[in-house]
């Protein structure tokens, strides 16, 4: 691509034209949802895709061309009447449409770009699925063994003995979804005098085909009996070939298949096993892990041969554990299966237009968590569409496209499953939240004024909270986020929320990969041992090696300067009431430190746990606690260690919340109930007095002598991490700089002196003070102003 202006013109025109095609395609697809067989709409969609492909090819955008080609093929299939479009296919086409729209404005993607491959793959899959002669979803199935019968089993059975094994291998398809037949059901249903028909030889081959399971919950008892009936009839003593009696959509066994190869593209040999059996296996594996731990401890000092045997046992146990865990894993798409329908129903009910994107559906998690995920997810999606995404006309009025986007993205990250639900709706207004909270009596006006934007958003998780001015049928009385958080906490998960008013909201759900066995760090505090799950672990800091200047202790809250972040510290023993808070680790004003700091992360926040010593990292079997202990919120469970003792597992998120409340010197009841006190950086600004800066977004503070300031016209800049960061001087007596992050970008404040970290509740009057201040008042008897970082960021962005 040259920089020729002619190319620019062509490119601009191509873009405009393609955008039109994309809009048209999207409209057609949405239309097709309601009227799937409207040939006119299908043709229009096809033409749009075709034009897009052509334009992309003409301009050498191979990435767009490949994607639209796949879409075109799928639409072609529909156009020929060979298949009818359904919800999943529409979803894939819409996703591809979205992607093309994004790609128009971006640099060309390489051929092996994973996102592109995934989208294209999905379209190809749908094509294969819809074009295959096998019965479609909606016509139910029984999942069956797909491995062919070993020849020994083909020996004729004595009459009267039901041929149960062969029955398994038989495909039943019908106009009604078939029940998931259990082997015993089938055996009982066969009349005793049934004779195995000779045609069963063909049945095996038919049985080798992979058939899909009906969506869970789509089955009713009546249908189940009917399928059994079909099965019985078909395999009755008449010895008629089984296949023709169900609707001919099944593989006609009269067609000799060349080899018993599954017809579908992806056919794993599968087997149906009682879930309780898997649970038992998992329990036993758990006990095996405990026994292995004990043995390893005992044999650690033994003779060479014993140690070798022990290592082998260790290895085998780990492998078995991994496999056993895997048997319980299912892709998260199982929990997302109902989402497209929910979204479409909500859209038709609310008159909103929503594009749904689902990424990472193949991400796997423990099957028990799938159940736990469904409810919270439904709730979150309802909220997004009901309260988040605006009506099309409202969106257009603020310059957004009329169709909102709701995306679900799942991925693995360090022992947890992360699911992000993002909408580009109107976001959550912290001010509205505060107003509602005050109105509901959850906190007083004064307290509300003292909260930062992120603290305000946290209020959404309080029980009984709602900002919906109208109680809608869909979301009911409350936003219900407290229920969501509780439900997720119960399975060891967590949720946090980020929102930008006017732009949208993101909810981040974290779920453990496996409930049962997790790696954990065992720590000692005040003579007791506790476990810190590795999923929460960030790093370990040995205080002995630290310069004392990096540890500060002010106003009840100790802080560690860790690289470029200021990390609040919590003495574990103190927080648990086991000994004096503050403990020996940090002396008055940074005296000689001892102990170890375990840096943890949970619910989007970090804290450093001061412990006396580390023991080791172990794979522990997590045992749940009874509700009265769970509700304390600081324990994630308990485990039985190698020596038979019971050790508690910390819930880092809960501990963080509790410790913050305890850290403030005189926490008022309302503060504890409403929100924790976030630590702030206290600086001196000549001509103003004290200035408070929220600590969390602060990246670094530096004295002028350690940094270089540049001027660019009227702008003042400082170098940080290879970037030039704009500085907003709060005073002429500029001797220090505080760098912070806002909305993904970095800014800096010029101040006179950095004083300390401050974590007390304050009573500041909003709107008072300098233009850049959110609130002002007296702090420790002297005037202080709280910086509004958003104002500064906006100023510096212009």
């Amino acid at each position: 691509m040259t920089d020729d202006s002619l190319d620019d013109d062509i490119r601009a025109e191509f873009r405009a034209e393609s955008q039109e095609h994309l809009l048209q395609l999207e409209a057609s697809l949405l239309d097709l949802e309601r009227r799937p067989s409207d040939l006119g709409t299908i043709n229009q969609a096809f033409r749009s895709a075709h034009s897009l492909k052509g334009a992309a090819g003409f301009l050498g955008r191979a990435d767009i061309e490949r994607l639209t080609h796949a879409a075109e093929d799928l639409l072609d299939l529909l156009r020929q009447g060979a298949a009818q479009i359904d919800a999943p296919a529409t979803g894939a086409l819409l996703a591809a449409t979205d992607r093309c729209a994004a790609m128009l404005d971006a640099e060309p993607l390489p051929e092996d770009d994973p996102g592109l491959l995934a989208l294209r793959g999905a379209l190809l899959d749908h094509h294969a699925r819809l074009s295959s002669p096998a019965p479609k979803p909606g016509q139910g199935w029984v999942e069956i063994f797909t491995a062919p019968l070993p020849s020994a089993a083909r020996a004729p059975r004595p009459a009267g003995e039901p041929a149960t094994e062969e029955l398994f291998r038989w495909a039943v398809s019908g106009p009604e979804p078939a029940a998931e037949l259990h082997p015993n059901d089938v055996a009982q249903a066969i009349p005793a005098e049934a004779v195995r028909p000779p045609a069963l030889g063909l049945v095996d081959e038919a049985a080798s085909a992979e058939l899909r399971r009906p969506p869970p919950g789509a089955l009713a008892q009546g249908r189940r009996e009917r399928s059994l009936q079909q099965l019985v009839e078909a395999l009755g003593p008449t010895a008629a070939p089984p296949a023709p009696s169900p609707p001919p959509a099944a593989k006609p066994p009269t067609e000799p298949k060349p080899e018993p190869v599954p017809a579908q593209a992806h056919a794993d040999p599968t087997i149906r096993v009682d879930v309780s059996l898997l649970d038992d296996i998992m329990n036993i594996v758990g006990e095996l892990v405990v026994a292995r731990n004990r043995l390893m401890r005992a044999l650690g000092q033994g003779p060479q041969e014993t140690q070798k045997a022990a290592r082998r046992l260790d290895q085998l146990t780990s492998e078995l554990q991994a496999r056993a865990t895997k048997t319980r894993m299912r892709p998260v798409s199982a929990a997302w299966a109902g989402v497209p329908r929910t979204v479409r129903d909500l859209c038709s009910d609310t008159g909103k237009q929503v594009r749904l994107i689902m990424l990472g559906q193949e991400t796997e998690l423990d099957r028990s968590l799938l159940e736990a995920l469904k409810d919270p997810l439904q709730h979150i999606i309802r909220n997004s569409i009901d309260h988040g995404i605006e009506r099309p006309e409202d969106r257009v009025a603020v310059g957004k496209p009329p169709t909102g986007t709701l995306s679900l993205a799942a991925r693995h990250s360090g022992g947890v499953v992360l699911i992000e639900v993002t909408d580009d709706g109107k976001g959550i207004d912290p001010a509205a939240i505060l107003e509602s909270a005050v109105r509901k009596g959850l906190l007083s006006e004064a307290e509300a004024r003292g909260l930062s934007a992120s603290e305000a958003l946290e209020l959404v998780f309080l029980p009984g909270f709602s900002t919906a001015t109208a109680v809608t049928r869909l979301s009911g009385r409350g936003v219900g986020m407290d229920v969501v958080r509780t439900q997720l906490r119960q399975v060891g998960g967590a949720v946090d929320l980020q929102s930008v008013k006017g732009a949208g909201t993101t909810l981040r759900l974290r779920l453990p990969l496996t409930l049962a066995i997790v790696p954990a760090l065992v720590v000692e505090a005040n003579g007791r041992t506790f476990c810190v799950p590795q999923a929460n672990l960030v790093e370990i800091v040995d205080t002995v090696r630290l310069e004392p200047s990096r540890l500060q202790r002010v106003g009840g809250a100790a802080v560690l300067r860790l690289r470029d972040q200021l990390l609040p510290l919590v003495h574990l023993g103190g927080a648990l009431g086991l000994g004096p808070p503050g403990g020996p680790a940090v002396g008055a004003e940074g005296g000689a430190p001892c102990g170890t700091i375990v840096v943890c992360e949970a619910d989007g926040g970090r804290l450093g746990l001061i412990v006396d010593a580390l023991q080791d990292t172990e794979e522990i079997v997590v045992k749940p606690l009874s509700p009265e202990l769970k509700q304390q919120g600081i324990w994630a469970g308990a485990t039985v260690r190698g020596d038979g003792s019971v050790t508690l597992i910390l819930d880092i998120a809960g501990l963080g919340t509790r410790a913050r409340a305890l850290g403030a010197p005189a926490p008022t009841a309302a503060v504890q109930r409403a929100a924790p006190v976030d630590p702030m950086l206290r600086v001196a600004v000549a001509g103003v007095g004290q200035v408070l800066i929220p600590l969390h977004p602060v990246l670094r503070c530096d004295d002028l002598q350690d940094i270089t300031l540049h001027t660019q016209g009227a702008l003042l800049l400082v170098t940080y991490d290879g970037d030039l960061v704009p500085v907003r001087p709060l005073t002429d007596e500029l001797r220090a700089v505080v760098i912070f992050e806002r909305g993904g970008a970095r800014f800096a404040l010029g101040v006179t002196e950095v004083l300390d970290v401050f974590a007390e509740p304050t009573r500041l009057t909003p709107g008072l003070g300098p233009a850049w201040a959110k609130a002002s008042g007296l702090v420790r008897g002297s005037p202080a102003a709280l910086v509004d970082l958003d104002t500064i960021a906006a100023e510096l962005s212009r």
């Binding site: 006990e287 509700p627 202990l629 019971v646 508690l648």
Partner: protein, 159 residues
Amino acid sequence: MSHSLVLTRIGDAHIAFALSEVREVLLDVLTTPVPLSPSVISGLVNLRGEVLTAVDGPTLLGLPSRPPPGGPAHLVLRVEGQGRSLVVDEVLAVMSGVDHPLRPPPPTLSPRLREVCAGVLLIGDQLAILINGGPLVKLILHAAAAPAEPRRAEAGEQE
């Protein structure tokens, strides 16, 4: 009607439980205290790999405690699937075929006991209070949720 019972003593009171609601009796167990837990929770107990919550019977029921020199006993309950054990002073007997009629609780019973009491039985010359598992669990949850002061710090203590 015939009952099978486990008869226990807390302080001077005789407390009976239906045999069907008791899994087993543990003597001489190690209880791991839980920091910041309500005083009604003694701690955690390891029963062959299962972690049980030990609930302090005397505290829960508002009765004085007089354990024998060997220490208290744990009654592992079979209620609502959750592993819990109730700490009592002493297990007196396991009795079957107790034919005595179940009488309504006397009005002098404390409110807490009345919440969980299914009735009283005359065994020998002493009245035994029959307690049902279901109401007992409710009482446990209630007592644990009440915003009482957390138990005193027992640093380094593992009995």
